[in-house]
Subunit: 345 residues, 2 copies
DNA sequence: TGACCATGAAAAAACCCACCCTCAAAAGCA
DNA sequence: TGCTTTTGAGGGTGGGTTTTTTCATGGTCA
């Protein structure tokens, strides 16, 4: 009834534990007759070795842990898919844990995974960790050389490997795209400053305007407070006179909300208002018109991060030097910024 | 440099392993002087017990495994959040594995989690498993009474616990909603039949029409082939004369695509065409107008499934009888079926 | 025919790490 | 000296792998 173990099998067949173990490994030390008897019994009872015992013995589990804030986000799910592809090709399995953007959960899951459950961990920082700026829980693992690679959000001051995008440059290019359409009254919908990615995209926005000899109108820079209703905050932009003729939102959700508010006020998209978002995801493909966005290539980010991690795991001697890899971003032009978008439904 | 173990600590301090173990547990058997020396050393070297050894010793890991096809889906991420809430309140951690809708990955992840990594597993069937109808890989675990609870998609012929929704009834109510608006030329966008949830929603659609004395027009029933472009398949519905005046799509993606195609053909929503989707998610809230949908209450489904699982895990004697729990569905009426939707942005 | 060694098969033991129970040695006290 | 109390060492356990040992058999050769 219960799960068979080497011991229970050995007892049932009147042989020793090591004999069973060797028979299962087709060791030549075991006579064909004994081996067949053991294999038969194991097939019948569906024996499988206990993974904890294997992990303890080999100090290797064949598992890669991933810690993400949550998985509802399309971007993270693309990263995970990329990780999985590389990991599985190398014979590893992937287990995922959610930090829920909380430092405590992040720390506890890292402890769990790093204390034997996984051979290496890939992670992106929880918002709370980023906000508090307290990265001490990573130090022991870094010091011991435990394989650890960050992606997207990472602790810049620690000597760690990370795979990121150039948010500033991507923000600049998205803004440049709006400018090239002839839009001049550009608004930005951003996040609080402590989320560095949002801040960097804002820097890119400012740079693009500066490069083109334009002034930044601080009234058109909106920093969303996630605890309050998003629609009401964004609506403020449309009450300005004159209203913006171009909006760059640092994620696709803000962009989609802006787009729909524009419909409500009767603005023509993209003629009267062009909207571009960030992080090409599931929302951007289903708005009307569909959203132009900066694409982050989550899949490639995941692949690259997994490759860095596998190199760390399989390094015989000292761990490789920490390195930061930057994944190129792209621009997908759809109906929200172009009357003649390339993509079809 | 390496991770400290009880043994390495004992050696470094010239005491025995058991002394270290007891000191860490504040056992009164250890003198304050010795204990303080040991605790000091452990703090300095950030000692943490190896989880594999703990799991092996106690035959209990405090971990719940979850296997889902992928996590990009909003519905699954809500289920996981619900699971997590219940699990964490009971002192368990949650680890997630992706089956990618493949039977092989589903089987292997189940083996991994059930062979020591987790105390119990929550899962929803991979599409491939459902298509092939081969559920043999679950039998050993069911026979042994390993804690296992399915949610959403489950093997109906096996004696297992599951948490599901009444898809037929939900489909009937969604269709009824369209009928009550006065729509009569109803179309259905569904999935292949082997995905039972799609099929059951179709049954509900048919039932609603029958109940209202209406005939089902088979030309208005579209079964999507996921391997071909979705837009082209759905566009067929709009080429019919007269076109449908109401569409029930069995998921939010199909509904959103239909909505946007309707915009392209210039139809007025909801006056000329009402659209209702299924599985209230991230897409439905960002279309224009926003999508009315059947809500599946993924969070509650996750909570209920986790509660069933915990009851199994913590049952002292024989495992409780398999039971099927049905989660109520609801209807969220938004702009795609009502000129006066209740929800605000 | 008896001593010796090679061979093969399987058992025993060590190891991975932490926990926990048992028990011995040392110290303290009368 | 004898008794109790303190202190900490030792060994078994969980489940598997791997190295070492044991033991019986068979063959070789003097």
């Amino acid at each position: 009834m219960k799960k068979p173990t080497l011991k229970s099998i050995a007892k049932a067949l009147g042989v020793s534990v090591s004999t069973v173990s060797k028979a299962l490994k087709n060791s030549p030390e075991i006579s064909p007759r004994t081996r067949e008897r053991i294999l038969e019994y194991c097939r019948l009872h569906q024996y499988e070795p206990n993974r904890m015992a294997l992990g303890l013995r080999h100090r290797r589990t064949g598992i890669i842990g991933v810690i993400v804030p949550q998985t509802g986000h399309y971007f993270f799910s693309r990263v995970i898919t990329g990780i999985q592809k590389v990991a599985e090709a190398a014979g590893y399995r992937v287990l995922i844990a959610h930090s829920n953007n909380e430092s405590r959960a992040e720390r506890e899951h890292l402890q769990l995974l790093a204390n034997g459950y996984a051979d290496g961990v890939l992670l992106t920082l929880a918002k709370e960790t980023l906000q508090k700026g307290d990265f001490r829980h990573f130090l022991p693992w870094i010091q011991r050389g435990f394989p650890l690679v960050f992606f997207d959000r990472y602790p810049e001051k620690l000597p760690v490997s990370a795979v990121i995008i150039d948010d500033t440059e991507a923000g600049r290019r998205a803004t440049e795209h709006l400018l090239r359409m002839g839009k001049r009254r550009l608004a930005l919908i951003s996040t609080p400053v402590y989320l560095l990615v949002g801040y960097r995209r804002e820097l890119g926005f400012r740079k693009a305007l500066n490069d083109n000899g334009l002034l930044v109108d601080e009234n058109r820079i909106l920093r969303i407070d996630e605890r309050r209703p998003l629609g009401e905050q964004i609506r403020g932009l449309f009450r300005q006179t004159p209203p913006p003729d171009g909006i760059f939102a640092v994620n696709e959700q803000y962009a989609a909300i802006a787009l729909n508010l524009a419909h409500e006020t009767g603005m023509k998209i993209p003629a009267e208002l062009a909207v571009i978002g960030f992080s090409d995801g599931i929302i951007a493909r289903h708005t009307y018109p569909r959203l132009s966005t900066v694409v982050q290539h989550g899949f490639r980010m995941g692949q690259t991060a997994a490759e860095l991690l596998l190199a760390q795991i399989e390094a015989d001697e000292l761990p490789p030097k920490p390195q930061i890899k930057i994944i190129d971003t792209g621009l997908v032009v759809r109906g929200s910024t172009s009357a003649y978008p390339v993509e079809r439904l």
